[in-house]
């Protein structure tokens, strides 16, 4: 059965700078209709079945939050329509209806009233809500004294304890401490087992892989993928790269004496996948064109994590004493194991001749590879994905 149907939905916004804010501006603009429009969604169709958990991915500005807001009715689509079945709770922002001066308990009642729930029903569930939020000592304190974590906990507790058939979530699972995050995820899993429908908007490939059975990718307001999570994550990253290539500073250079003409990446352990699992090897072939033989070549490689942190930088030792290498040729670099966490990493190379300081070539940030965790490593986090195991002694 269908739980949500998005039919030909588009949404265009007037750009804010063009929006008249006062009567004067309105009068001055009368008769001029030169407003610029921005299309956040382009004729989108999507059908979500009852009991499905669907991830919506896309980079910033791809329209994913607009889509969610159209589903909840906060925004009205410019064209098309959205149909839903069952009671819907949206976690667009946890605790959005909270008033700082009121106590946690008073806020629970008002927040639930925003979801259209009767006072009697809330009174019945109040204990569950307070228990879940772990705030029983503070529930009669004004929420202005709450920490942001407590705020979010209470908001989440209200939303999930009110028995929605449809849950729309926007990034909110990425808040709170780790223990509470796990509790939220567990709660969401319970929801899945009970056959409720969940739509989650996120950048986090991790979350999509952990929770969703299906994922869609939005790019510039259009649906570019609607498929299994692993494929969707790959497509999402490719689209993200497209953006990066246009925006991020990537350069290559050198003088006439030497340049790097090309880099190819091979993933011998991946069996044709276009991404690596943590710990798999990577083979890099770097071609260069110089004017003369390089008598004492030096090669450096930098690997940068998605957050900009350098995970490895430095000179590469040759496998065997090289001596001089020919003016035009290729180098093969083998990284035996890349025990890195999920993400898209970029590489920079430089090649120089130690005997001849004028001869140097570099290539920055143009070559990238993806690591997508799978199997037993799915659950790990952090900087590196260590190869860890345990056994009984």
């Amino acid at each position: 059965m269908e739980a949500i149907r998005v039919e030909g939905v588009s949404k265009s916004f007037r750009l804010h700078s063009d929006m008249p804010q006062s009567v004067k501006e309105r009068l001055l603009r009368l008769g001029r209709s030169s407003t610029r429009m921005f299309n956040a969604l382009n004729v989108l169709d999507l059908s979500i079945g009852t009991g499905e958990t669907v991830g919506v991915m896309g980079h910033n500005g791809s329209g994913k939050s607009t889509l969610l807001k159209c589903m909840t009715g906060i925004l009205t689509p410019t064209t098309g329509r959205v149909l839903v079945r069952g009671r819907m709770a949206s976690l667009l922002e946890l605790g959005a209806g909270f008033h700082p001066e009121l106590t946690g308990r008073e806020n629970v009642y008002i927040n639930a009233a925003f979801l259209g729930i009767r006072r009697r029903e809330i009174a019945r569930r109040l204990d569950d809500i307070v228990d879940f939020s772990e705030l029983s000592q503070f529930i009669d304190e004004p929420v202005k004294h709450y920490s942001s974590g407590m705020y979010v906990r209470l908001g989440f507790a209200v939303a999930v304890n009110l028995d929605p058939e449809l849950l729309l979530v926007d990034e909110v699972l990425a808040v709170g401490d780790e223990l509470f995050q796990r509790k939220c995820l567990d709660r969401v899993r319970e929801f899945q087992q009970e056959g409720r429908t969940i739509v989650v908007v996120t950048h986090s490939a991790d979350l999509v892989r952990q929770m969703c059975q299906r994922a869609v990718v939005l790019d510039h307001g259009s649906l570019v993928a609607d498929t299994r999570p692993s494929d969707a994550i790959r497509i999402f990253r490719e689209h993200l790269h497209g953006e990066l290539h246009e925006s991020r500073v990537s350069s290559s250079g050198g003088d006439a004496a030497l340049r790097i003409s090309g880099v190819t990446l091979d993933m011998p352990g991946s069996g044709g996948r276009r991404m690596l699992r943590p710990g798999e090897p990577l083979e890099i072939t770097l071609s260069y064109v110089g004017e003369a033989d390089l008598r004492r070549p030096t090669l450096t490689i930098d690997i940068t994590a998605p957050n900009g942190q350098v995970v490895h930088a430095g000179e590469v030792t040759p496998a065997a004493e090289l001596g001089s290498i020919s003016a035009v040729g290729s180098l093969r670099v083998t990284i035996n194991s890349l025990p890195l966490q999920d993400g898209t990493y970029s590489m920079s190379f430089s090649l120089a001749d130690r005997d001849n300081p004028d001869v140097i070539a570099w290539r920055d940030g143009r070559d990238q590879f993806d690591i997508v965790a799978g199997g037993p490593q799915r659950r790990s986090r952090g900087l590196v994905a260590l190869d860890v195991e345990y056994s009984a002694v």
Partner: protein
């Protein structure tokens, strides 16, 4: 901008409902009814927040009419008032005027000042102006009760047989507040100057309503210039205020001076009836306007 590829839409399958669709008027009223607890919640919220950090709390609402009555009595006994019990006359009209004024000025800002809710939470937006009118009504009820007690204690002669005009006038003014408040809150989303303009208009409206002066003075003035004497009744607050004066001040004359028309209570009831029907039509228009506009609130705010 109509994108190509827009298909004609099929009928809605059973059990599914349309999100953010334009609703019929009865459906809108039903929505408000379903969310009635939210109206209550927002009214209590507003009141709790207002008195959260004050020692006397609700007593402040009640103190206002007492204080005004004392001040007016003192001032008019020095300046020389128009007629006897002038302070009671002023209070009887002022109390219901304050309801309108508070309700309209707070309702006008109800959507814009709750933009964080409008862009994050789904609920019928018209709840916002309705609940601000609701909290103004709670204040009014407290003040009216206080005024009533004072007048009884002071031995003032309230017109007991005309007292039934009060509930009628209150219903009418509440509908008027809801209608105008909702309209203003929509307009204020698109032109923020509305709230400032409103402050000025309220001053003009106050003086156009026979609160400080008596209704008969305006009709006398109009009659002298052979203008139609029903002109003041075009002001929807005139019937409301005069009904309050008739019931609370208790008589339509001070000494041999006529303050209100020398007619039976049917005159007040008829006037209130007309304003009541007009206000209900206005409320229907406000609901329609809200239905058209509320889908855009989140992006305009």
């Amino acid at each position: 901008m109509s994108p190509a590829g827009t298909k004609p839409l099929a009928a809605i399958p059973d059990g599914m409902r349309l999100i953010a669709a334009r609703r019929s008027l009865p459906a809108q009223f039903r929505d408000v009814w379903l969310y009635r607890e939210l109206v209550g919640g927002l009214v209590t919220r507003e009141l709790k927040v207002r008195y959260k950090n004050s020692a006397l709390g609700f007593l402040w609402s009640m103190a206002q009419p007492v204080f005004l009555l004392v001040v007016y009595t003192a001032v008019f006994s020095i300046l020389g008032a128009g007629f006897e019990n002038f302070a009671v006359w002023v209070m009887s009209g002022l109390i219901v005027w304050t309801l309108l004024a508070t309700s309209l000025t707070t309702s006008a800002q109800s959507v814009t000042s709750n933009s964080y809710l409008v862009s994050k939470v789904t609920f019928p937006r018209i709840i916002l102006p309705l609940s601000t009118s609701g909290s103004a009504l709670v204040h009014f009820a407290l003040q009216l009760a206080t005024l009533g007690v004072i007048l009884l204690v002071a031995g003032h002669d309230v017109a007991w047989s005309e007292l039934w005009l009060l509930p009628l006038a209150i219903v009418v003014v509440v509908v008027l507040c809801a209608a105008l408040g909702s309209l203003l809150s929509v307009v204020n989303v698109y032109a923020r100057d509305t709230q400032h303009l409103l402050d000025l208009l309220m001053v003009a409206w106050f003086w156009a309503t026979p609160i400080i002066y008596q209704y008969e003075r305006t009709t006398a003035w109009l009659a002298e210039r052979s203008l139609p004497t029903w002109l003041p009744l075009l002001n929807p607050m005139t019937p409301v205020v005069t009904a309050f004066q008739r019931a609370v001040y208790g008589t339509n004359a001070a000494g041999d001076r006529l303050l209100l028309p020398d007619v039976g209570t049917w005159w007040y009831a008829r006037n209130l009836g007309i304003v009541g029907i007009a206000s209900m039509l206005l409320l229907a228009i406000a609901f329609r306007l809200f239905d058209r506009a509320e889908g855009n609130f989140a992006e305009v705010l």
